[in-house]
Symmetry: D2
Subunit: 264 residues, 4 copies
Amino acid sequence: MCRWAAYLGEPIFLEDIVSRPAHSLIRQSQGATRCVTPVNADGFGIAWYGERAEPGLYRDVMPAWSDPNLRSLVGQVRSRLFLAHVRASTGTATSRNNCHPFTAGRWSFMHNGQFGGYDSFRRHADVLIRDDLYQHRKGATDSEALFLVALGEGLDQDPQRAMECAVGRMEALARQKGVAPHVRAACALSDGERLYVLRYSSDDHAPSLYYRWSDSRQGWAVVSEPLETDEGDWQEVAAGSFCVFGATDVRIGAFNPQNLTLAA
Amino acid sequence: MCRWAAYLGEPIFLEDIVSRPAHSLIRQSQGATRCVTPVNADGFGIAWYGERAEPGLYRDVMPAWSDPNLRSLVGQVRSRLFLAHVRASTGTATSRNNCHPFTAGRWSFMHNGQFGGYDSFRRHADVLIRDDLYQHRKGATDSEALFLVALGEGLDQDPQRAMECAVGRMEALARQKGVAPHVRAACALSDGERLYVLRYSSDDHAPSLYYRWSDSRQGWAVVSEPLETDEGDWQEVAAGSFCVFGATDVRIGAFNPQNLTLAA
Amino acid sequence: MCRWAAYLGEPIFLEDIVSRPAHSLIRQSQGATRCVTPVNADGFGIAWYGERAEPGLYRDVMPAWSDPNLRSLVGQVRSRLFLAHVRASTGTATSRNNCHPFTAGRWSFMHNGQFGGYDSFRRHADVLIRDDLYQHRKGATDSEALFLVALGEGLDQDPQRAMECAVGRMEALARQKGVAPHVRAACALSDGERLYVLRYSSDDHAPSLYYRWSDSRQGWAVVSEPLETDEGDWQEVAAGSFCVFGATDVRIGAFNPQNLTLAA
Amino acid sequence: MCRWAAYLGEPIFLEDIVSRPAHSLIRQSQGATRCVTPVNADGFGIAWYGERAEPGLYRDVMPAWSDPNLRSLVGQVRSRLFLAHVRASTGTATSRNNCHPFTAGRWSFMHNGQFGGYDSFRRHADVLIRDDLYQHRKGATDSEALFLVALGEGLDQDPQRAMECAVGRMEALARQKGVAPHVRAACALSDGERLYVLRYSSDDHAPSLYYRWSDSRQGWAVVSEPLETDEGDWQEVAAGSFCVFGATDVRIGAFNPQNLTLAA
């Protein structure tokens, strides 16, 4: 499992989410409290939107707490929309290309969770990626595959439907060739305008996920774990939800992956 | 392109090939003389056979000349059979998982060369990898794909035939979807007993390749570029050859990739 | 030796200096034309000033051309004042803490050149660093020592005098304990307001250094090598000069290191 | 704090200490049980003696558990004498040069513990290093300084006395300029023949330290934490002890740092 945090709103320094809060993402990398792997030290990454359509991307393989470049970057860069992730590998190698977020064009994507037995159907997952998107396949994670499959299913046109297709296809592979739990997923993705978030699992252990509107920041934070213990107004994202965060509003609906049966 | 060196014979310190000769592999990483990219600084790797059936593997992303771990390792480790590689990327990212050699079980493999337009048929190349070998697909290079395709074609049973199949299949993809030059390859591979080497290209620019028996070392060196300028007895491996080096003998034959036509 | 580039003016994307010009700093890392070491691949770094008094700092040990984080960062970050450096080690280890620029508080500093025989008087150079500044001594280079000695000599009050003192003290050590050439230096430093540049050597081989005002950018570039071959209006900084670049003006004077004789 | 393990005896694969035991050093890097910092993920290192007088050295900045090079190396290299360390920084940067063990000539050294307020007297500690040994000062840790001071005090002639001098000098600095606790230290060092170990603190919280003779391996293991929970015969090293391990014997005596008063 992993921990992540995302933000959409008036521009803030990345450190206001990543490193300054009492239970910031970097603190969670050292001692997460709401998941089975308290240490998330197998690399990290941030994707942020600035003046360009495509996001910036910074990823490295050391623990987030020990990288001076990260510390400097989050203290300098101010952004209205960013994704940040600390990784605890579920098996795949620790390498930059396996660190979240992943990006392609204007899209960014990150994932906390897993597809059970992924190693046994990795090749089949890769086959689901559309030919013209395969150039973006740089690492070996289930998460990157999920993202690229979703891109091919039409993230640009209908993000929710594309994610429902992609999760459905991967879940079908996991059911056919993998092991339980077939899917556990808390995902955040963005096209540079909106922040899309989903929480879903095929069993009843969906990864923890919370969101909160900050009046002082005039922005949304969506996080694996609340950033401050004394903020009582974090809302839990219900399992089986898809959320669309806009500048000042959020729309939450049911997330229903396509129920697919694969031909043997 | 890249540069590489391999050794089979009485155990020697890796540094006797990697760093001590006047035109050692590390020197070639700074200033190769027989290829178009004189600087080969996009990572490096060594695979060596010791007491176990599986080889050791050490790879990193900095230039070979600047890594103190490498310098220390090649001064300590003595081996009867090893592969060493310095990389100049032809496009794929600089990451440990894209550095040569690649290993799977007792096999090790490295490659200098390229498949033209590989990015446009990467997914098709991945599909050629056998399902049970896909767990070894960690990076994104054409070279790793070639190795894993060859494993699936029976490296264990008949190395030459397996390589002829694998190169043939990849060449067919390159001809169908890629760009010229379709194949340029100097490969070394080993099962821990013998050292197999091939030099081939679909045009008339096969990567440079030489070999030499050393009486003082009682061993074979096979290299992209001769290690000493005053050793006049380096033999060029002819383009279109497959060589099998044993403890004291070498058998050289024609290398003929399968001529395949792919269905559209 | 190394190569570097600095900018002061209207905010531009870092890539406009670092990676986009025909002979950009990254190109110079692969093939510098005006110094004896064409390849500058022993790490790199950038320091940039944004909304805060202290600069951001990003440094890593791979060649500048192969780091995707750097590529992304220079395409996202826009700055009115920044320093960028690619390193060719003159002996010290390749490590992040030995990469330029160095920073302390609001100051940033980078250096191309060397102090002859520095290894033989490193400890004596460290002793010159003021006690309260020693916390900033993270690596082992002569360049970082020079910067910290200069800070202790009053960079805040009088940058030129502080650099003349610091270079003078280091040169005295080199003359007493080192080897020729005693000093070769092209330095850039900044307090977040002005850009200070010096070119000096104790022999007649000062590192190359040029500057140019760009009307289109409304800013100054100071570089080891001109960024475009078709821009004829690059001015050479004369050896033995100290330059103070302001928003639209430059003041150039003689740089005379203190002539010190050390007690044995 | 950190965790470490050392071995002297009949040659074994490094993995027999580093990664295979139920509470191996790598396990301790993820969940140490006898120190206040359960996670020791700020880099790691191994120094091992082979055929040469000088030890091999492999260090890197990621967590020990996530480095495939380390996993491969400890499975290939067999040694009669080695030191292995996982680091939890007490403030100094995570960099290879700050990772233990440190080596100089035939000596290797590692340390678990700290000198209180070291940042406030770092420069004074550096001044204690002998001029001709200063070339080995590559990082910024108190541990490396302690090692180099001890080398200058005569490790070659009398290891215990040299360590008593070095610890005494550093402790005097800590008492004069630092903060409590002034010294906490569990150190292992070797000249390639014997394994020297000390456990000491200026308060009553010396870092945990145990040793055990293995009949099956015919060797000594000295460790921060016992490697197997079902081995009841681990002996605690008493605080204030200096141990000299030979092939089959150990000599344990009192460790009394020199009581020095520094002139103001």
